[in-house]
C-alpha cells in the first residue's frame, strides 16, 4: 500500500477487486474472459488433482505410505459423506465430490495469500490486476453450480428416462391430477432455478465477503502505526476464522453437490 499511497481507499479496493479481463472475439459484455480466475483455478486444479494422481499412481494394497494414507483418509471422508446420502454405485459421484472438495478448498484458501505481496510480485512481471481467489468470482462458482445442475438433469433423465423426468416435472410434489400440473411445474421450476443460484451464490458471497474484510483490514493497516498493529492483529484473527469458513464452504459445496446429484437419482 505504501507504494500506492496516492490511491484513495476506494481506488485501493477497486484495484484489488478488478479482474484481469480480456475481451475475446467480437466483444460484447459476455465475451470477456477473466484470465486471473481461469488461470488460478486451472493451476490449483492441476496441482490438487495432479497431486492426488501422483500419490494414487503408486498406491499399494500393502502398508501405505504417509502420503497415500493421507489421500486415502480424504477419499474415505468424502466417500463416507457420499455413502450417507447417495445409495447407488459411487464410482462417479465420489470422485466428482472429491474433485469439487479439493478444488474448491484450494481456491478458497487463496484468500490466505497476502494480496498486496502477491500484487507486488505480479507487478514486477507486468501484471497489475490479479484476483487470487477464483471462488470470489461469481463466474467460477456459477460455472461449478451450473455443471452440477447439468449433471443433476442428466442423471435425472438417465435414471428415470425422459418421460419419467417430464412426468416428475409436472406430477410431483403435489400429485398427478392434471389440475395440479401448473402448480407442480411452477414449484419444480422454482426449485431448478434456485438450486444453482443458492449453490453458487453461497460460496461466492462467503469468499467475496472474506476478501473484502481482508482488504478493509489492510486498508486500516496502512493508516499509521496503531492501524498497522491493530490491522495485523485483526488480520490474523480474521484469517484464523477464515480457515473455518474456507473449509466449511468447500464442505458445504461438496455436500450440496452430492445431495443434488443423489436427489436426481430418486424418483418421486
Amino acid at each position: 500500500m505504501s507504494s500506492e499511497a496516492a490511491l484513495t481507499p476506494t481506488e485501493y479496493i477497486q484495484h484489488h477487486l478488478s479482474f484481469l479481463a480480456k475481451p475475446v472475439g467480437g466483444g460484447g459484455s459476455f465475451w470477456t474472459l477473466h484470465v486471473d480466475s481461469v488461470v488460478t483455478a486451472a493451476i490449483l486444479g492441476v496441482i490438487s488433482i495432479g497431486l492426488l494422481w501422483w500419490v494414487v499412481r503408486g498406491a499399494t494394497a500393502g502398508v501405505p505410505t504417509k502420503r497415500q494414507a493421507f489421500v486415502e483418509l480424504m477419499f474415505g471422508f468424502v466417500d463416507d459423506q457420499v455413502k450417507g446420502i447417495f445409495h447407488g454405485k459411487r464410482d462417479f459421484v465420489t470422485p466428482t465430490a472429491l474433485t469439487v472438495f479439493v478444488w474448491v478448498l484450494l481456491m478458497n484458501a487463496m484468500d490466505f495469500l497476502p494480496v498486496d505481496i502477491v500484487a507486488k510480485i505480479l507487478g514486477w512481471v507486468g501484471i497489475h490486476e490479479w484476483r487470487m481467489v477464483p471462488t470470489a468470482d461469481v463466474n467460477t462458482t456459477f460455472a461449478l453450480a451450473l455443471s452440477v445442475w447439468l449433471l443433476m438433469i442428466f442423471f435425472s433423465i438417465k435414471v428415470k428416462g425422459l418421460g419419467g423426468f417430464i412426468h416428475e416435472l409436472f406430477c410431483s410434489p403435489f400429485g398427478s391430477n392434471p389440475l395440479l400440473w401448473p402448480a407442480n411445474f411452477l414449484f419444480n421450476l422454482v426449485e431448478y432455478i434456485s438450486k444453482p443460484l443458492s449453490h453458487s451464490l453461497r460460496l461466492y458471497g462467503n469468499m467475496y465477503a472474506g476478501e473484502i474484510i481482508f482488504l478493509l483490514l489492510w486498508l486500516w493497516a496502512a493508516t499509521g502505526l496503531v492501524g498497522t498493529v491493530f490491522g495485523a492483529i485483526l488480520g490474523v484473527g480474521w484469517a484464523i476464522f477464515h480457515i473455518l469458513i474456507v473449509a466449511l464452504q468447500a464442505y458445504i459445496f461438496m455436500m450440496l453437490t452430492i445431495v443434488y446429484i443423489s436427489m436426481a437419482h430418486e424418483s418421486h
Binding site: 494414487v56 498406491a59 494394497a61 462417479f92 470422485p95 472429491l98 474433485t99 456459477f142
Partner: protein
C-alpha cells in the same frame, strides 16, 4: 458481478478435472483399498482358522496325554501284579524247598536213630549174651541158643 465467458471456461475446466478424477485418480486407489480389504479379510480368516486348528490340536494333545496316562497306570498295575506274583511264587518255592529239605533231614535222622538203635540192640544183645555166658558159662551154647538169643535181641 458480471457473467461472462469465464463461466464457460471454468465449466470446461471443471469437467476436465472431474473426468480426470473419475478416470485416473479414483480407480487405482479404490483398487488398492479393495485389495487391502481383501487381504485383511483373508488374514483375519486365516487367523481364525489357525485359532480353530490350534484348539483342535490342543484337544487332541490333551486326549493323547490322557490316554498315555491311563496306559501308564495300566502298565504300572500290571507290573505290580506281576511283581507280587513273582514274590509269591518265590515264597512258595522256598517254602516247598525248605519242607523238602526238612523231610530229607528228618528221614536221615530217623535212619541214623534206627541204625544207632540197631547197633545198640546188637551191643545189648551181645552184652546180655556175654552176661548170661558169664552166669551160665557151662550150660549155654551160643549156637544152640541162637534162636533164643535172637528172640531176646528183638525184645530188647
Amino acid at each position: 458481478m458480471n457473467i461472462n465467458l469465464t463461466l464457460i471456461a471454468q465449466a470446461v475446466a471443471f469437467a476436465v478435472f472431474i473426468w480426470f478424477t473419475v478416470k485416473f485418480v479414483w480407480p487405482p486407489l479404490l483398487r488398492a483399498i479393495e485389495q487391502r480389504q481383501a487381504q485383511i479379510a483373508d488374514g483375519l480368516a486365516a487367523a481364525e482358522k489357525g485359532r480353530q486348528s490350534l484348539e483342535v490340536s490342543s484337544k487332541q494333545a490333551e486326549a493323547a496325554i490322557a490316554e498315555a496316562r491311563a496306559r501308564a497306570q495300566e502298565i504300572i498295575a500290571q507290573a505290580e501284579k506281576r511283581g507280587s506274583q513273582l514274590i509269591d511264587e518265590a515264597k512258595n518255592a522256598a517254602r516247598e524247598e525248605s519242607g523238602r529239605e526238612k523231610a530229607a533231614a528228618k528221614a536221615e535222622i530217623d535212619q541214623e536213630v534206627s541204625r544207632a538203635r540197631e547197633a545198640l540192640r546188637d551191643q545189648v544183645a551181645a552184652l546180655a549174651v556175654a552176661g548170661a555166658e558169664k552166669i551160665l558159662r557151662k550150660e549155654i551154647n551160643a549156637q544152640a541158643h541162637a534162636e533164643l538169643l535172637a528172640q531176646l535181641k528183638k525184645e530188647i
